[in-house]
Amino acid sequence: MALLQFTDNGLYCPDGDFYIDPWKPVNKAVITHAHSDHARAGSTAYLCHRLTKPLLELRLGAHAYQEVEWNEPVFINGVRISLHPAGHVIGSSQIQLEKEGEVWVVSGDYKTEDDGVSGAFEPVRCNSFITESTFGLPIYNWQPQAVQYAQIGEWILQNQQQGYSSVLLAYSLGKAQRVLQAAAMVTDHIFLHGAVANTNDVLVNAGITLPFAKRVTASVTKDELKKAVVIAPSSVLDSPWLKRFTPYRVAICSGWMQVRGNKRRQNADAGFAISDHADWNGLLQAVKATGAEQVYVTHGFQSAFSRYLQEQGIQAAEVVTQYGEAFETDDVPSSTQEQQP
């Protein structure tokens, strides 16, 4: 019997009787990271990384959470489980399972470039590797982070010069913290949407150091917001929430911005192809580093990526999951503070 099976509830380990990132409520869930398509509410018990725990509490509320550190093995029904940095967002982990010498690794989402906050991706050798493929086409290759940060900084300074605020749209968990670092390199005049501020509060409480930024509340005056940098989730695009920053320019920070057409159909002034997912070369490099005999490709361009791997002599199959469907949404609660009069 295989160590992991693909079931209707998600990835299941029959020997250990637990699931990894299940999309339906189960007894025991091991969670790779706190994004909504991987961490869903309703399960009885959760196992996750120490830094993922407070994020799950913020998003899913109180549950039975067990936290572990990276490379700190735990055993469930004789299956050895260890978490290893995935480099995707803070707390994100690859999950390694081992029993009787057979090793599986579930990557969750990952990126191979070290972003300085999420922990550096650690290649883990295994027999079977389950990889994402969000950007699994060779058109997706990212600029180094330093170059991307410089581009964002340049855009902010140009807007300030011309009297505009700079609204940067990014996931509240992951991208927002990186964009905050990029912005903090050129200015200290930074504001956060409630969803981002709530996420940051949790992270700071957990011991992460982040640059200082203020929360946008009803009491912040229009004058204070002039020429400011604002970091917010993409759901605010085309919403009246943005009005208070007028005049402003909007940039979307997402790997999808790599293609002009995606940029053009969003009502935004700029797009930065900055992603928390591995690019094409990152995916290939990660797959090869595992030395896996069998690769399973999930959410993204799974058919193209698995076919390419096969042509490279790597056993690969595509697997349909329910991950990655919510890539446009972001469900961190944005607190009630700012809605109050």
Binding site: L137, P138, I139, N141, W256, Q258, V259, R260, G261, N262, K263, R264, R265, N267, A268, D269, A270, G271, F301, S303, A304, R307, Y308, E311
Partner: protein, 535 residues
């Protein structure tokens, strides 16, 4: 080249038309004159002949990037633009050379026109190694298809007007017609003398908006002229110095496509410009009654018109305006006067292919409303309303001219195939094929790409991604579940389509979420429409 690539980048990412206008105006006030001529040529569809085929480019790209061809195609389907796909797949530039001015690239491209495939390949590969991603994209655009990047000719004209001391309609006129960006200077292009020397030079077309207000608010019926709105190709027929030129609205010189018009060269007086509709008519027809647009389309699609086509569907010209008379530009005369001259002219000539667009007599708006319902039987697609005192303006303007189309025909059908779109729809399933019922079978009968909001497209895209049954190259077969109402302007017999019909201008008019696939129309319903309106 760098400056132009930056301009293209700015145009591609700016959201407001004012920002686009400002970026272009800035470009026209600062760039090299020789570069500007090429930019005007590019944006007005005067790109030099393509140097290489897209198949060659694809192949050179996947060889350079060491990728299998199928993966290249996957990427292309996702990006939806060949030039961009290539710029994304090529390795980062290795050799950085100084950025050459734009016009130098075009000189090089023109010089390569007669080169061998190896020489062309060597040139292209060398550029790919040297150009930055943005420049590479623009370069690929030069050597591949059209140069559509979300900027209208109107914006170009307005931007030019901002940077030189001329009004927009004068510029629109001067940059129209026959000119060669390789030989003309910027100054010559915009000068009055050059415009006068070009015998073929057409005037910018005056275009109408769709009627926006109730007829009662249009004032007195007696101030308006009504005509049928013909469904052909808008064209300008020019006779100057014993030469005949026929331009389409897309500024394509089509004189050779219509040998029927040749004998008009001697009959039309020199210095005459007619505005009208190019249509096909049944042979020896006395009254103005066009054949379906599909027939005209098959004619213009061919390099050489066949004898059979000339016999069965001869072209005619329905004139509705006179722009130049005895060598003088009379666009500023009121319509009533231009019309009188036009009628006299056509009366004198008495040529079987040259007709005057009949004026519809009506003395009150209610009568006109009734007459409009007969439009389809008349082979027209509605009415045109023109103020009798109106001058002939340039471009699309509100106020004096209105088009008032008849309501489209509609049919309910189900979505069965989907394909990813291009440009701003890249990586989204937005190009659909629809089917009607024929007993237990579904028969595809039309494609449609437009009519939905961005939100609706996103919802259909999500449905397609979750409900695709099979994959044929870029095409997904989709579970037949989503029902749409398709609106179209006409229907004609077609041997090229499985259903036996071809629709004119089909688009999605409504997403019928209230209907199931059992309730859609049938092939028989389509055949009935064909019988009723297909002639």
């Amino acid at each position: 080249m760098k400056i132009f690539a930056t301009l293209v980048h700015t145009l591609g990412s700016s959201t407001g038309s004012n920002e686009k206008l400002a970026a272009l105006a800035h470009y026209f006030s600062t760039a090299d004159d020789r570069d500007k001529v090429w930019v005007i040529a590019l944006f007005s569809g005067r790109r030099p002949k393509r140097l290489v085929t897209s198949t060659q480019l694809k192949q050179w790209c996947y060889e350079t990037a060491t990728l299998p061809d199928w993966l290249f195609n996957e990427c292309y389907d996702t990006v939806g633009d060949l030039a961009e796909t290539i710029s994304l797949l090529l390795p980062e530039a290795t050799a950085t050379a100084a950025s050459l001015p734009l016009h130098v690239f075009f000189e090089q491209l023109l010089a390569l026109a007669t080169a061998t495939e190896e020489e062309k390949k060597a040139y292209v590969l060398q550029q790919w190694q040297q150009l930055s991603k943005d420049e590479c994209f623009v370069f690929n655009k030069f050597i591949t298809g059209g140069f559509r990047i979300g900027v209208s000719q109107k914006t170009i004209v307005n931007a030019l007007a901002k940077s030189v001391q001329l009004d927009a309609s004068t510029i629109a006129h001067r940059i129209s017609g026959n000119w060669n960006p390789a030989t003309i200077t910027f100054e010559q292009l915009l000068s009055a003398t050059a415009a006068a020397e070009d015998l073929s030079k057409p005037y910018p077309f005056y275009l109408a908006y769709a009627l926006e207000q109730p007829l009662e608010e249009m004032g007195t019926a007696a101030d308006w002229q009504a005509e049928w709105k013909w469904d052909g190709i808008r064209g300008q027929m020019i006779q100057r110095n014993a030469e005949l030129f026929v331009w389409s609205r897309g500024e394509e010189l089509m004189t050779d496509k219509f040998p029927e018009y040749q004998s008009l060269t001697e009959l039309l007086p020199a210095g005459t410009v007619l505005d009208g509709e190019i249509i096909c008519m049944p042979p020896n027809s006395k009254e103005v009654k066009p054949l379906p647009f599909a027939i005209l389309q098959t004619r213009i699609g061919r390099k050489q018109v066949t004898r059979k086509q000339l016999q069965e569907a001869p072209a005619a010209f329905i004139a509705y305006d006179l722009l130049e008379w005895e060598g003088k530009d009379i666009r500023q005369l009121p319509l009533a006067q231009r019309r009188k001259l036009l009628e006299q002219l056509i009366q004198q000539i008495q040529h079987p292919v040259l007709h005057v667009s009949p004026v519809i007599t009506f003395n009150n708006w209610q009568l006109l409303e009734e007459l409009r319902t007969q439009a389809r039987e008349n082979g027209s697609e509605g009415l045109m309303l023109k103020q009798l005192h109106s001058v002939y303006q340039s471009g699309r303007k509100r106020g004096d001219w209105w088009k008032w189309k008849i309501d489209p025909l509609v049919i309910d059908c189900v979505l069965i195939y989907a394909q990813k779109g291009h440009g701003r729809r890249s990586n989204l399933y937005t190009d659909y094929t629809f089917a009607v019922k024929d007993g237990d079978r579904l028969v595809s009968f039309t494609k449609a790409y437009s009519g939905l909001t961005d939100e609706e497209f996103a919802a259909v895209d999500a449905f397609v991604k979750r409900n695709s049954l099979e994959k044929f190259g870029p095409v997904r077969t989709v579970k037949p579940e989503l029902v749409f109402e398709i609106a179209f302007e006409g229907i004609a017999k077609s041997s090229r389509h499985k259903s036996g019909v071809a629709l004119r201008f089909p688009r999605m008019s409504r997403w019928r979420k209230d209907k199931t696939v059992d309730e859609i129309n049938t092939l028989e319903d389509l055949r009935q429409l064909l019988l009723q309106y297909g002639k």
